[in-house]
């Protein structure tokens, strides 16, 4: 009984809105609207029909409250002549302001607590002997880098010594040559 009454009221509203259309095929549109209305009789809440005024392509949005605990539901009926109606059910879920505030509050609180708590802890590996043995420089691959640095510095030191020796030898040789030439000069004189 209730169902027929709602469908009847729906029908009336449908006719009312459809009467704005051009009366090209009165009966067709009537049956069409009947079909549409009967297809959307499951909605029991407030009905809002939005007509875009085009005769060929009629699209109406039915706002309905089908599931009371599901806050908003929209049924979009797109009609094309000679084709099936396209019915799209849109359910949009809204968080209430209070729920959003709760979510963000808890997020903020957890962040605040986490920064305090985990900032006061330490990484046990970071201070451990396996990581901080003598010679480590605190990087994950410290042994090799340290080793390479040591090798490089000792090698360069060795080279410098060799170079100095070489230079000394050369200088000594030059001096010897000079002295020899001086002696020769003296001898010549």
């Amino acid at each position: 009984m209730a169902d027929t009454i709602t469908s009847f009221t729906l029908l009336k509203s449908c006719i009312k809105t459809n009467s704005l259309q051009t009366t090209k095929a009165e009966f067709n549109s009537f049956s069409r609207s009947l079909k549409q209305c009967s297809s959307s009789t499951f909605s029991k809440g407030s009905h809002q029909f939005v007509e875009n005024g085009k005769s060929n392509r009629a699209s109406r949005v039915v706002k309905a409250n089908a599931l009371p605990e599901w806050p908003l539901m929209a049924v979009l009926v797109e009609h094309l002549d000679g084709q099936r109606d396209l019915i799209t059910h849109k359910s949009i879920w809204h968080l209430s302001d209070q729920a959003m505030k709760n979510v963000y509050t808890f997020y903020v609180m957890f962040t605040c607590w986490g920064c305090c708590f985990f900032g006061s802890t330490k990484d046990p590996f970071y201070d451990s002997e396996t990581y901080r043995k003598d010679g480590g420089d605190g990087t994950g691959h410290w042994v090799y880098e340290k080793q390479e640095d040591n090798e490089e510095s000792s090698r360069s030191e060795l080279w410098r010594e060799e170079l100095i020796e070489e230079i000394e030898q050369k200088v000594g040789g030059l001096r010897g040559l000079e002295e020899a030439s001086k002696k020769e000069e003296q001898l010549v004189k």
Binding site: K101, N102, T105, F106, V108, M109, F110, C112, W113, C116, F117, G119, S120, T121, K122, D123, P124, Y126, D127, R132, D134, G136, D137, G138
Partner: protein
């Protein structure tokens, strides 16, 4: 089976098939050691290893999140929750700042120092007034310069 060594000592002879690999040669990939605690025991060990806050600080840090959740469940005004969080943060940080500093509280270059010099520097930092400390060790900020005289200061 005992055998006599050439230096006169008795020695246990272990046959190849009796040798327990990993146990006798201490090789951990064969034998990981017989230290077998429970699952929760290992969790507690890991938790203790990170040096969590203890005492009053530990108590408030454990009570904080449940208190916030309870307040939100019982629809306490949000302002009170935030004020509570601010007080918690201040108290927690005061307790944290009163703790003596450890090596991981400094810049990581401190690990490049010799162990004795580092310990002396950190103990001085923990005991001295910060202004005196800065006067005494202020030139150490440039860690690219080698400083070997920390122990003598």
């Amino acid at each position: 089976m005992k055998i006599q060594r050439t230096d006169g000592e008795q020695m246990e002879l272990i046959l190849q098939e009796d040798f327990k690999y990993g146990k006798y040669d201490d090789h951990h990939t064969y034998f990981e050691g017989d230290k077998k605690g429970t699952f929760w025991g290992s969790i507690a060990e890991d938790y203790a290893a990170i040096g969590p806050p203890t005492g009053f600080q530990g108590f408030i840090s454990w009570i904080f999140l449940p208190a916030i959740a309870a307040g939100m469940y019982f629809n306490a005004p949000g302002e009170y929750l935030y004020i509570g969080a601010a007080i918690f943060t201040v108290i927690f940080c005061i307790i944290e700042m009163d703790k003596p500093s450890e090596p991981h509280n400094f810049e990581p270059q401190i690990y490049n120092m010799e162990r004795g010099a580092r310990d002396k520097l950190i103990s001085d930092y923990n005991t001295m007034d910060i202004w005196d400390f800065n006067e005494k060790y202020g030139d150490l900020w440039d860690f690219t310069v080698k400083n070997d005289d920390i122990m003598k200061r």
